[in-house]
């Protein structure tokens, strides 16, 4: 996959530095970076917030402690640290202590899959440049992971409200969790629009999908530019929904009813003092960071510079990522300074009756848009008749489909056939060749996609024995063969000869289609 200008500009790192194989270190470096960044930046955030709000309200923020009040948050921290631990009497002790921890953990963990940057390495052996995303875990369900963790934050709030055994805190806790749950939905839908565009849940994949030309004939300078980022590609609506949901998720600014001083004294963390109270704050700010990070990754092109010009490309992706995150934070503070608090029912109404319907409609629109416009040729894949041949799918037992066609008596384990060497040996009836054990793809080296038949473009289109048959005969088509990418693999694999409308034929068409989609992403599209 051709490297974009800004990728190369980041400089190419050697694969081996002495005994250490650098790519393997990447996740750990990312982990340390994320944790350190979040924990270190939080006091700064607090400071930024107080200063920005002060400036907006035409007053000068903290300026007593340290130059322009920079050490003010430090002082607060120390204060909180030494504050007396007050714990109400009939409190459920275990849960009381557990709540702040639970509030903290998901926020921190959320950062795990944020795509900081894409590093380029030159492999010592072949000298070919391969990329490694600088992120803690490049799991194929990155986005889902973050969603899951954000849904766990509810516990911190609910348990805090419950454990402090105080009516107001209980009410505050319940309200906060209700708010979290309902806005989680809205956030999910907006993310869904993006995913439809990106076609994958890997965040670096999504960022890579934004590193394209905004429209067909766009000048090269615009590759990966602001205009090609998803906030515009997906129509601004998902971004707006996401931002609102983002703010509601972290109980900030207009939606900070549950912990609003005027209403419920401090909501769920009234009974908490000193360090536990600080933990809540840390948790809140960490989740703000995570959510802004996600916002940046999804809508603002993650580690991509605004324009594809060498000057901007010089600056490493991580910096761009941090800039976008801090922009989000400033946005938070801006909102906090300006917007009044939403009443609880208005908040709920906005969540359920405005954002959710809008999100649903927009998702439908995106579906149609991406199906017809963005990927016109894989109309076939638009959930009508997906060719499963080229997808290295897990082996599907022959008799699954046979049952559909002609419910012959199913003989269990009939499929256990020597499947070594080639996909052809499918059982007589089913034409379901046993899956290729991991050796399928030549390029199995890629750790994330073990055994994935190499998406290397160079797979020859006509490996299938039989000529490319235009129309797939539905009957044979049923054979979602587990050809598992072998077809794609360069090995001279002949399609199962005896099977009418052998998958080989379809493979070729899918192949081309794959190439087209792969051309954009730098590594295999199937995850």
């Amino acid at each position: 996959m051709s490297q974009t200008v800004n990728d190369l500009m980041h400089g190419i790192l050697p694969e081996h530095l002495g005994p250490v194989q650098i790519p393997a270190l990447v996740p750990y470096v990312a982990l340390a970076g994320i944790i350190g960044f979040i924990l270190a930046i939080v006091p700064g955030l607090i400071w930024i917030e107080r200063v920005v709000i002060a400036l907006m309200q035409d007053r000068s923020g903290p300026n007593r402690v340290g130059p322009r009040g920079l050490l003010q948050t430090m002082a607060d921290g120390v204060k909180l640290f030494f504050k007396e631990e007050i714990m109400p009497r009939s409190v459920d002790v275990k849960i009381y202590y557990l709540a702040p921890i639970i509030a903290m953990i998901p926020a921190l963990a959320g950062g795990g899959t944020l795509p900081l940057q894409v590093l380029h390495f030159r492999s010592d052996a072949t000298g070919a440049i391969f990329t490694r995303p600088l992120m803690v875990g490049d799991v194929n369900i990155g986005l889902l992971y973050i969603l899951a963790l954000s849904s766990l934050q509810v516990y911190g709030v609910v348990l805090a409200g419950w454990a402090s055994n105080n009516k107001y805190s209980l009410l505050g806790g319940l309200r906060a969790s209700a708010q979290l749950i309902s806005y989680e939905l809205a956030m999910g839908l907006s993310i869904l629009c993006v995913v439809m565009l990106a076609g994958s849940l890997r965040l670096n994949e999504i960022v890579a999908k934004q590193n394209v030309l905004p429209f067909a004939g766009a000048p090269e300078i615009l590759r990966g530019s602001v205009f090609s980022w998803f906030w515009l590609q997906s129509g601004i609506i998902p971004f707006i929904i996401y931002t609102i949901a983002m703010i509601a998720e972290t109980n900030r600014a207009p939606f900070d009813l549950p912990e609003a001083e005027s209403e419920l004294i401090a909501g769920f963390h009234t009974e908490y003092s000193s360090m536990k109270f600080a933990m809540f704050f840390m948790g809140e700010y960490a989740s703000m960071l995570t959510v802004c990070g996600l916002n940046a990754a999804l809508f603002w092109g993650g580690s991509l510079p605004p324009f594809n010009i060498p000057v901007l490309a010089m600056i490493p992706g991580v910096v761009w990522f941090i800039i976008k995150v801090m922009a989000g934070i400033v946005f938070y503070v801006w909102l906090r300074a300006t917007l009044p608090r939403l009443r609880y029912d208005a908040l709920m109404n906005l969540g359920w009756k405005r954002l959710l319907p809008l999100g649903l409609v927009w998702m439908f629109v995106m579906a149609v848009w991406s199906g017809l416009v963005l990927h016109p040729d894989n109309k076939a894949s638009a959930a009508t008749s997906v060719q499963l041949e080229n997808v290295d799918l897990p082996f599907v037992p022959a008799n699954t489909y046979k049952e559909i066609e002609d419910p012959k008596p199913v003989v269990p384990n009939q499929k256990v056939l020597p499947s070594a060497g080639g996909t052809g040996g499918g059982p007589a009836g089913g034409g379901r060749p046993a899956p290729q054990p991991a050796t399928g793809g030549a390029g199995a080296s890629n750790p994330q996609a073990p055994g994935r038949g190499g998406a290397q473009p160079q797979a020859n289109p006509t490996t299938g024995g039989s000529p490319a048959t235009e129309g797939q005969s539905p009957s044979s088509f049923g054979s979602a063969s587990g050809a598992s990418g072998a077809g794609v693999a360069p090995m001279p694999v002949t399609a199962p000869s005896g099977i009418p409308g052998s998958p080989g034929g379809q493979r070729t068409r899918l192949n081309q289609q794959n190439q087209k989609t792969e051309s954009t992403g730098e590594n295999g599209s199937d995850h």
């Binding site: 897990p394 082996f395 037992p397």
Partner: protein, 100 residues
């Protein structure tokens, strides 16, 4: 590689604990939880066997099981709330109108 039967044993244990909970506890909410536990054990078995036979069908079942479980819990808890509101107690030993 962890042999699949380990997973099955674990699922069996979880299921049994779930059954025990259902039979022993008297608070319907805890009973519901135990039922969820049983469902979870079942899902675990599905996935483990799916992996063992290399089929994705196992996981398909789990998806639907999840949906059903969610539906079941919502209606179940709805019923419990209704019972609580009408009889002020949800100790299922007191809810025995169907006694002979």
């Amino acid at each position: 590689m962890v042999p699949t039967s380990y997973y099955l044993v674990l699922a069996g244990i979880l299921f049994t604990i779930g059954v025990l909970g259902v039979l022993v506890k008297r608070n319907p909410i805890v009973i519901f939880m135990c039922i969820e536990l049983m469902l979870n054990a079942a899902n675990l078995t599905f996935v483990a066997l799916g992996k063992h036979f290399g089929q994705v069908n196992g996981q398909m079942y789990v998806i639907f099981a999840l949906a059903v479980a969610a539906a079941e819990v919502s209606v179940g808890l709805g019923i419990i709330v209704a019972i609580f509101r009408s009889k002020e107690t949800i100790n299922i030993d007191e809810v025995n109108l169907m006694k002979f």
